[in-house]
Symmetry: C2
Subunit: 143 residues, 2 copies
DNA sequence: TCTATTTCAGACAAAAATGTCCGCTATTAT
DNA sequence: ATAATAGCGGACATTTTTGTCTGAAATAGA
């Protein structure tokens, strides 16, 4: 469904959202440890998220990453778009060059509905809600 | 969403379903041409589908591939499972080792719903219906 | 039987995704 | 100022996915 990069990116963003309420900025080392991901690789992904305007980064001691906007105004669709691009939202299920309802593939009719539901689900998955779940111990970022 | 292999596999199965009503078995060469896919690579995928019991194959002149069951009794979920495995149906959105509603990731609650809708959509996408769409010119396998 | 055709199996190759390393730059604290 | 810290950028390495090639095995038809 999502690339490894995207999975790490989402987990990182949720962890940052949950952490920064209390401790402010979060370091790469802390993030990689908490979401159980390879540190250097995660660093690359966080750079991407920073370039894409979802994170701010600060160098030096006490440096680290923080959300570019408040956690209530960032949703999963933005993160997926930033890391994996828009193919999941627009692409054809059967890999045709474009998804076009005027000249659809045989799966289009049923697939487009589910794809749109997925898009909506991602748009309505807000970072602060997910961070809340983490904090309350009802959800987890490792296993 | 799906791997290239899976996309080619689905397109091949739909083409075979549409073609074999009239001309019987379908050769790899014909399939690769009609679904616009690399021939040798497509051959590998058809071998997999044959091993997995979704296709029968026959060597020699007049040989080729045919559906192992009638097109009304094969759905997309089976093809996806045969080629890409069950991760799409069971896997965690955020890449945790397993998806477990007892110890869910922060995306689980909303994601599991959409994932189940996708599964249902694939299960109810039947090969003969899609082949019909192709024959009637309302859907297409290339672009 | 002989030949042409077609799938099968395995080795090989190229490209993309995933992951690591290292030196550089910016920043903080002493 | 200087040293220590943390992100940045680019090169490099590994693994997976995607794709190719070749020869063998099976089969139909002449
Ligand atoms: S054309 Fe294939 S999903 Fe729209
Ligand atoms: S635990 Fe992540 S989707 Fe179920």
């Amino acid at each position: 469904m999502f690339s490894k990069s995207c999975e790490y990116g989402i987990r990182a963003m949720i962890h940052i959202a949950q952490q920064q309420e209390t401790t402010g900025r979060v370091s790469l080392k802390d993030i990689a440890r908490e979401i159980d991901s390879p540190e250097a690789f995660t660093g690359k992904i966080l750079q991407t998220l920073t370039r894409e305007g979802l994170l701010n980064s600060l160098k030096g001691p006490t440096g680290g990453f923080e959300l570019a906007r408040e956690a209530g105004k960032i949703n999963l669709a933005e993160i997926v778009l930033a890391v994996d691009g828009d193919n999941l939202f627009n692409g054809c299920a059967l890999g045709l060059s474009t998804c076009d309802s005027e000249k659809p593939c045989p799966a289009h009719e049923k697939f487009a509905i589910v794809r749109d539901e997925l898009t909506l689900m991602l748009r309505t998955s807000i970072l602060d809600e997910m961070a809340m779940g983490l904090k309350n111990g009802v959800s987890f970022l490792t296993r």
